[in-house]
Symmetry: C2
Subunit: 233 residues, 2 copies
DNA sequence: AAGTGGTCTAGACCACCTT
DNA sequence: AGGTGGTCTAGACCACTTG
């Protein structure tokens, strides 16, 4: 006889997910209480709780106090991605990393930047444009604004040598980030920087970070043709 | 005198994150053991553990058994996004949803699809092209392959009425998904379907799903101009 | 008002990795 | 081989939300 091995929370999660696939628990259905499932599985409620948390985090199930747990009838595709430091990304591809500062100036934030930060009034910030290269080819063109109230040290950084991307990543952890993906046709100036034809489709990554609701930086990264971002659950 | 309120794991997380911001724990540093931090904070180790899990999940810290916990010296930007059912997305914008089947045929998978699924040999699958509309304007053009071994029921679905997107979401939960973002210039055929000019930049979302390593579907969604995907941590 | 999920504790054992 | 994070248990109390 085989000794009943102790269940892990992933086992419980997989079993519940299986039942959702099975239609034992159909979309919209209310699942048993954590406690009851714990009884059925012969494990502690905490274990069921963790399993449920994972299913909830992945959008398969919805939980509400007192309301119980329901199978989502309109599940969403939920996935997570990483955006590393650009230099490391390039080096990891086995390419030679290069960097060029294009411009650096203090200026008043345009409305687009105010909107991204969610601030109501214009502010003086540091505006930096720079180009990242892979094997001497343009890789990412970044257009960045940095809040000099929250990050005054950036004014003393030699941005002709080190990219703001790298300095910030190493020196200014954030607590909140928003990222947005879109596509643009290269305008004339962009095309020149990126060594592509005017009108070429480029993936754009817009990234804004805060520390406790205080703006740090927002950057518009225009990527080279063929660039893509991968995510998974 | 104020009674010392019990610490929650988010308090612990915030405190540790603050120390990382402070440089009390600098990039690359080894953090104290969970147990020691628990002692310092006067809470259970489990509470510190959860705080650390969260920081680890957000890429700020790295944990290894025996190795301990280290502040990541090369933190990544990590964020999560949702992609809802297209119909709901359109309706949530306050627009009228429309749907048109363009083509439906069983065919042999091209190498691009084999690559996406990670399968070594070609297979017969259902190939569907369809257009989603918002207020009668093209919104998303989807080019989808569905594995009829894992999802034979799809062959009996009237895809002229219901989109494969919706049917699958409601009837075929997945256990694994991969998503990829890129940008393309509209070719002539795409431009016609999307009512844009040939060459216009469009954001492309490629999504592939599996149930326990068995392919379900892979879809290339070509989005209308101005479409964007938002993510956050 | 009561039921359900959310969290905390204290203790134990396990699994993985580095030394 | 030993140290660290990972997980499980059992019990308790809390917080939210719905009936």
């Amino acid at each position: 006889m085989t000794a009943p091995t102790r269940l892990s929370w992933t086992d419980v999660r997989d079993e519940i997910r299986l039942r959702i696939l099975n239609r034992t628990f159909a979309p919209g259905d209310k699942l048993p209480r954590d406690n009851d499932l714990a009884g059925e599985f012969g494990c502690a409620r905490t274990t069921v709780h963790r399993a449920m948390q994972d299913l909830s985090r992945n959008g398969l199930v919805e939980r509400r106090r007192k309301g119980g747990t329901h199978v989502r009838s309109d599940p969403v595709t939920r996935a997570t991605f990483d955006i590393p430091i650009t230099r490391l990304e390039v080096e990891q591809r086995g390419s030679k990393y290069g960097y060029q500062l294009i411009s650096r100036a203090t200026a008043t934030t345009p409305t687009s930047v105010m909107r991204r930060f969610g601030i109501p009034h214009p502010d003086r910030m540091l505006h930096v444009k720079a180009l990242h290269l892979a094997d001497d080819q343009p890789y990412i063109l970044e257009d960045r604004w940095i809040d000099t109230d929250t990050t005054p040290e950036i004014l003393n950084v030699d941005l002709t040598r080190d990219s703001a991307n790298e300095w910030l990543v190493h020196n200014k952890p954030y607590s909140r980030v928003e990222v947005q993906f879109s596509a643009i046709n290269a305008d004339k100036e962009t095309a020149e920087h990126m060594a592509v034809k005017t009108g070429d489709a480029l993936l754009v990554i817009e990234r804004t970070t805060w520390v406790e609701s205080n703006p740090i930086t927002t950057v518009l990264s225009i990527t080279a043709p063929g660039y893509h971002v991968s995510a998974r659950n």
